[in-house]
């Protein structure tokens, strides 16, 4: 082993000391000749004769100096280095070939590397918890209403805890928000109420403090690292000291480390503090409101858990603790957290692979053209005795150089693209902050580079080595690039179909009729202190004053209050029924969204009554509730009867007192731009006062109104935080951001694909025209009209592109499956998208052929025939 290493070292040293060795040899030879001469002189020859004889005995120095080098086993390596240098110089000279080749390879490699980084961070990387594979999300399921992910009731949570044999830990989560009164303005902070075992569930411990005390702790809080540093000055003595949240006092028992990632799924989002949640006799009957996570026992499977959950549901039903039609199921936590983006990421991954395939085809075309151009050179070298193996070796080296250069440039582009992409992506994308250039990206780039090298080295060698010097290219002969054009067109078509489907889907989504005019609307949330101004008697007065003050501000046209603004999660919903039918099987009843609004709300959203009247603000608290409903609600419970005003209906809420309908408004999308309007019940804020409202302001001056709002709130209720400022336009844009970004990226891929097709087709035909000048000259001289010439070229191009398009349509049937899950209002087989994709691919091929065809038509027969 040691000898082997020494030998290797000696050889390597030799290569780099080659000049030294040559001069060493020269020294030896000179000494040899001198010694030989001296010996001859000693035997009596004259100096001159002695030297002549010594030199004659030596023979051709150059010849055997080469022989000395050949003796050395380093020879093959040296040839490789020399060939590397040669190929590098050749590529530098042939920049018309090498620059586009490296650029296209880099484009394909960078697209793959960037999408691989994204996919790896969001989908592949394990969650940053202890043994994340055992973490699950648990949901109740309403079978009749087809609601897959219903939040969980404490009764069911308790049953899972006590009865499950496959779950080690069960943890409940529920969002919480509190007012933090720091040195400056009071602010809203967001966190969660969680079962005290949450940290045990995730296998993470506070970096400071002991965590929740055992049993059922109250009055304790664990805070996030950013809460600790930004609001508490990273004070280590904070542990066990009290902090005040929304007027209550909490003892800080833990600070989480900086790298702790809160569990975000269901309606759980950003969390900066955790308060303990315990199932109590009082919250036991609140209904369903918990997000639940769990940890499987080692060795337990998700399937086992799911059948166990069904069993527990059946038991609970038998014990009359659960209504009919309710079931439960679990899925892995990582699927729960990232499942919604899977289709988009998979389609992007597919698109980047297609683009890479296209890049490889195109580089192959470029290489073929390059080799043809150099075929006289090759012919000369073959005539001089260069072996096919040697020429192939050179191509292998050239391909490796191109592949490596593509990988290096592609890596640089990837490093540039990742931060851009992260900025472009919607911030609610799960695990976005962990996107970085990682080992998956490196593996993807290396694999792509190796593949490029192999394709470049093998394909042209297989075809071009038959390209013997005596054969000259013929215009009529089927060109070897033909099948590549077919391949390119088919790949580009698939990408164009994917892009046009997603773009059309996004366009549909963007132009969805919301039912109200979101422009000029600004929303913010006001939460009064529940122990003071927010008490049920004070709150209505304070909000009345606030509305009056805001209305008086210049530039504000309308002000409305609502319990939950449009498209904000967490609005309440419950079952509805014609009067008297509500007590029956509730699970089978339709569901309505319920919103508490004031009299100004409909005006702010420019909604008018289609029959009856809207709220006046004079509805009396304690009297039977009055309701404004939408048309969808009427369709759901009284499909046959047009006149609903004055009727009552069953609403499973507020002690089940049936509300009376005073007016009907048209349907409005409230929960998501994607979802069709559901039945909606509006109740009057005058009858259902609350300390928290979303305020919606219609303002001709747009967001410029925002600076005036805070003083108005402070004047009415000092110390009240206002938060979640947003224009409704931006809320809608945010909720469609994933679709927008996916459409944008796929469109980018499609445009890149079309450019590659254009370059490839143009390159192929331009090459044909350049090589076939003579034949074109003859044909023109024999009277062929230039239109015929152009026509025949275009026809050939279109036949190839057409064949590619047909293959592409067949392939896109499979490819569009990947995007099916994310399309809105567009079928994967959408005709318009396919027609658009086909026309754009064919048009690209047509234009790219037209230019060289026109050149051919302008060939001057006299000059072309005289050329050689």
């Amino acid at each position: 082993m040691r000898g082997l290493i020494q030998g290797l070292r000696r050889r390597l040293l030799r290569i780099f000391r080659r000049h030294r060795i040559d001069s060493q040899l020269d020294d030896e030879l000179r000494f040899h000749i001198e010694s030989e001469t001296a010996a001859h002189v000693a035997r009596g020859l004259s100096e001159h004769e002695a030297r002549r004889r010594a030199l004659a005995e030596m023979g051709g120095v150059e010849r055997w100096r080469e022989e000395v080098r050949d003796q050395r086993p380093t020879h093959a390596l040296e040839i490789l280095l020399r060939d590397l240098a040669l190929s590098f110089r050749a590529l530098r000279r042939a920049s018309a070939y090498s620059i586009p080749a490296v650029a296209t390879l880099a484009l394909g490699i960078a697209a793959l590397g960037t999408i691989a980084s994204l996919t790896s961070a969001v989908l592949l990387r394990p969650l940053p918890y202890h043994e994340p594979g055992r973490l699950v999300a648990l949901w109740e399921r309403n079978i009749q209403r087809n609601r897959d992910r219903n939040v969980v009731s404490p009764i069911v949570l308790d049953a899972w805890r006590t009865r499950s044999r496959t779950l080690e830990i069960v943890t409940a989560f529920m969002p919480s928000s509190q007012v933090w009164q720091g040195r400056g303005n009071p602010e809203r902070v967001f966190g969660a109420e969680v079962s005290p075992n949450m940290f045990e569930l995730l296998g993470r411990r506070p970096m400071l403090g002991p965590g929740f005390s055992p049993g059922a702790p109250t009055g304790e809080v664990v805070i996030s690292h950013s809460f600790w540093t930004q609001r508490l000055g990273a004070d280590s003595s904070i542990i066990s000291r009290p902090i005040r949240l929304s007027g209550g006092s909490y003892s800080v028992v833990g600070v989480m480390p900086n790298d702790f990632v809160p569990v975000e799924f269901g309606w759980m989002s950003h969390q900066d503090f955790w308060l303990p949640f315990n199932v109590t006799a009082s919250n036991m009957n609140w209904g369903r409101f918990l997000v639940v996570g769990g940890r499987l026992k080692p060795g337990a499977t998700l399937d086992a858990l799911n059948s166990e959950l069904s069993g527990i549901s059946a038991q609970l039903f038998a014990e009359k603790a659960l209504a009919e039609g309710w079931d439960a199921h679990a899925l892995s936590l990582v699927d729960e957290m990232t499942g919604s983006v899977k289709p988009a990421l998979l389609s992007l991954a597919l698109a980047s692979l297609l683009l890479l395939a296209l890049v490889l085809t195109n580089t192959t075309l470029l290489t073929l053209a390059h080799l043809r151009q150099r075929s006289p050179d090759r012919a000369l070298r073959i005539a001089l005795g260069a072996t096919t193996a040697r020429l192939r070796g050179e191509r292998a080296i050239t391909s490796t150089l191109l592949g490596s250069a593509g990988a290096v440039v592609g890596t640089l582009l990837t490093l540039l693209a990742i931060p851009l992409l992260v900025r472009l992506l919607p911030p609610d994308l799960p695990r976005l902050d962990s996107v970085r250039f990682d080992v998956v990206a490196v593996a993807a780039i290396v694999a792509a580079a190796l593949l490029s090298t192999a394709v470049l080295a093998l394909v042209p060698a297989g075809t071009a080595s038959r390209d013997l010097p005596h054969q000259s290219a013929r215009l009529t002969k089927r060109s070897r690039g033909a099948w590549l054009i077919v391949a390119e067109s088919s790949l580009a078509l698939v990408l164009a179909v994917l892009a046009s489907l997603t773009v059309r889907s996004f366009d549909r989504l963007r132009s969805v009729e919301m039912g109200f005019d979101p422009s000029d609307l600004v929303a913010f949330r006001v939460a009064l202190d529940a122990s003071g101004e927010g008490s049920t008697t004070r709150a209505p007065i304070v909000f009345d004053r606030l509305v009056a003050r805001l209305r008086a501000l210049p530039g504000i046209d309308a002000v409305g209050l609502t319990s939950v603004r449009p498209f904000r999660a967490g609005g309440s919903a419950t079952s509805i029924a014609p009067l008297g039918a509500g007590a029956s099987d509730r699970a089978a009843l339709p569901v309505a969204d319920v919103r508490i609004v004031d009299r100004g709300y409909f005006d702010a959203l420019s909604m008018t009554a289609s029959s009856g009247r809207l709220f006046s603000g004079n509805e009396v608290r304690g009297q039977p509730p009055l309701a404004v409903v939408n048309e969808a609600l009427l369709r759901a419970i009284w499909p046959a009867e047009p006149n609903a005003v004055g009727r009552k209906f069953d609403l499973n809420m507020y002690d089940n007192v049936p509300p009376e309908i005073i007016g009907v408004v048209r349907d409005v999308r409230l929960t998501s731009p994607r979802l069709a309007p559901r039945p909606t019940v509006y109740l009057s804020a005058a009858q259902f006062p609350s300390e928290v409202f979303d305020v919606i302001v219609r303002s001709a001056i747009g967001v410029a109104v925002v600076p005036m709002i805070r003083p108005a709130v402070t004047a009415v209720a000092p110390g009240t935080p206002i938060y979640e400022f947003a224009t409704l336009g931006s809320i809608i844009a945010e909720s469609t951001a994933r679709e927008r970004v996916t459409a944008f990226l796929l469109a980018f891929f499609a445009v890149a694909a079309l450019l590659l097709v254009a370059v490839g087709v143009y390159g192929l035909f331009a090459g044909e025209v350049a090589r076939g000048r003579q034949e074109i000259g003859v044909r023109i001289a024999l009277g062929e009209r230039s239109t015929q010439l152009v026509g025949s070229m275009l026809a050939r191009a279109m036949v190839r592109a057409g064949a590619g398009v047909l293959i592409g349509i067949a392939a896109s049937v499979l490819a569009t499956r990947a995007v099916r899950g994310m399309l809105y209002g567009v079928l994967p087989s959408d005709t318009l998208s396919h027609v658009a994709a086909v026309s754009v691919v064919l048009a690209t091929a047509f234009v790219a052929t037209l230019l060289p065809a026109m050149q051919a038509a302008r060939v001057d027969p006299v000059r072309a025939l005289r050329a050689d």
Partner: protein, 110 residues
């Protein structure tokens, strides 16, 4: 009679060089002169064979070259046998003996 390079049996030159160096370190010309003298001018080793052979042997690690100065103050490369070279010489030596004896047996009139 002088035998030229091509008459030298393949491998014989290596053996001759190793044997020559067993006596002590020597430069290329010294080796060539030594072989010529010891064979009474029958074997005249051509430089075109000698130097490639020296470089080859050095690469295999059986001899080692180092620079030193000649009496005239000229830089010369002196070769010496390595431990591996000594082992190889012993092997080659006995192989040659066997070979020569075998050839002799064939040539001897029956």
């Amino acid at each position: 009679m002088a035998l030229s390079k091509s008459d030298l049996l393949q491998g014989t030159l290596d053996l001759l060089i190793l044997q020559t160096l067993q006596a002590g370190p020597l430069h290329g010309w010294g080796i060539s002169r030594h072989i010529r003298e010891r064979t009474r001018e029958v074997l005249n080793v051509n430089q075109g064979s000698l130097y490639p052979a020296l470089y080859r042997l050095e690469d295999r690690g059986v001899i080692a070259g180092s620079d030193s100065l000649s009496e005239q103050g000229r830089r010369v490369r002196v070769y010496r046998l390595t431990a591996a070279g000594r082992k190889e010489l012993a092997t080659e030596h006995s192989l040659w003996r066997q070979f020569a004896a075998a050839v002799e047996l064939v040539l001897k009139p029956a």
